[in-house]
Amino acid sequence: MNYCIFKTEDFLLDPSFVQWARNGENDEFWQTFLIKNPSKTDDVERARLLILAAKSLPVFSLSAESQDSLWERVQQKIADETEPYSNPVPLLRRIWWVAASILMIAGWLGWQTMHKEKLASVTYEKLIAGTEAKKDNLVEYINSTNKVMPVSLPDGSSVLLQGRSRLGYFKDRFGITKREVYISGEAFFEVARNPEKPFLVYANELITKVLGTSFTVRAYPDDKQVNVSVKTGKVSVFTRLEAKKNSELSGCELSGVVLTPNQHITLNRQELKLSKILIRQPELHAAIAQEQLQSFEFDDVPVSDIFEKIEKAYGVEIVYDQALLAKCRITASLTKEPLYKKIRLICEGLGASYEMIDARIVIQSNGCK
């Protein structure tokens, strides 16, 4: 191999060189080569630095618990698969099934309205008490302040919990087949997309089902109404009566009343009547209206501007060392990302980390060079 005519990229593509750079193999040969060919120092060092940088790239790891539960899921799947194989239903027949079930649901709904069965007003406490889950697995966020509290869920979804509001989920059940959360008060959701595990928000009498989108639910215990408004994507909304048919909740097909962006639905809690309207901008929660108007496309923008924009849009507080980050600039496209993902991606770009302290997002960084 004539290494004397090699450039950086040639070294990178040479197996023997890579072995030296990664594992120190053949050290003597390469040291001698460098002494004999000082003009190659640049190319060699460049290639070596790049390999070292790639070799020590940051790692995304799965916690020991997640590894264990994933292993259990593998075992479960294997057990399921060893059961007698059932033929998948052919497409045409499946369409009939869907048609049949729509008819059934429609019929059932008609029957329900005729009987005017009413649920005594359902609240957060009743919802929690009514689940079969073990209560000690309940994870709760209670925001008794008047400021927004950002909450991160285990699936990567973000919630902005408004004042006097409360959010709960069961950590042993969340994300197994569905992602179910319970709220009282008002919250803005940005749901991480996962069609196999529908995200369900239980708010008083209303259930909102999504596959990945962002929207607001408002359901204070003493309000006469429950409101859902959609920012992006699609959600479907049911009353608890309709939702008794559990299969609807776990399916991936959205049914119920479907809301698209800028639509808003109100449930009258006395009559359990749903009415759909288009959102008029001023009616939206101030923070979310702001957010809706903004794009998060940044082209070589100082990171302090980006933080400011996020603070305004989401109504959260971000704490960071302004002097240290004064020179950091970022190019990124974050419009579609949930709040926490925005923060995470920015931190990745900065080589920084973040944590939540007292409802504030605190950025730890060594600054930019």
Binding site: P15, L49, V74
Partner: protein
């Protein structure tokens, strides 16, 4: 070194044979040995922890189900990486999650802005330089970043990288060469500093 590698391959080979014959201990050993690096790789192609975990679940369940039909291999890691990548792509194909990713190499890479302040770093240590480079690496177009990661981080040979990424070896070489050109600007500045730091 060579012997060590041989031993390792031998050990893997034996582990694989035990697994293929239905030894569930060997299976769980393979899982715990590779789940971490598989997740890391998967998460870099598709930053969605649920989907990646689903793909890994499928991968291992399939592995067990089809174990008798699998060919012999002395690189379990290579086999698993290749399968995981396919799974992730299949999982995401119908959902078009990849829509949000810029078509590989079509976009200009994000400049890593080594502006004036870069010159202040005479005292910068090598660690910090590597850090700067890593940031540049993370901003490469996805396929370039993936090729670099598989070759230099995971230590696959070029032909293995090609096979995992389902392209020919020459295309992988091109990807790596192109990424160097993209990184050149930040490189050049780093090099000057590196030399100053080392020789003065």
């Amino acid at each position: 070194m060579g012997d060590l590698k041989k031993d390792l391959e031998n050990e893997e080979y034996v582990l694989w044979l035990r697994f293929k014959s239905g030894d569930s201990n060997a299976f769980s050993q393979i899982y715990s040995r590779y789940v971490g690096i598989l997740y890391n790789y998967g998460y870099h192609i598709l930053p969605d922890t649920f989907l990646v975990q689903d793909a890994i679940q499928d991968l291992f369940a399939d592995l067990w189900r089809t174990r008798q039909n699998l060919s012999d291999t002395s690189s379990i890691k290579y086999y698993l990486f290749r399968s995981l990548r396919r799974k992730i792509h299949r999982l995401t194909e119908d959902e078009q999650l990849f829509d949000s990713f810029p078509e590989a190499d079509q976009i200009a890479s994000i400049p890593c802005t080594p502006s004036d302040e870069t010159l202040q770093i005479e005292s910068e240590t090598m660690d910090e330089q590597i850090h700067t480079l890593q940031r540049a690496l993370l901003s490469l177009p996805p396929r370039q970043a993936e090729a670099i990661r598989l070759r230099f981080y995971d230590g696959f040979e070029l032909h293995e990288v090609a096979n995992i990424m389902q392209m020919n070896e020459q295309s992988v070489r091109n990807l790596i060469q192109r990424s160097i050109r993209k990184l050149r600007l930040s490189f050049n500045l780093l090099m000057i500093l590196y030399l100053i730091y080392n020789f003065f």
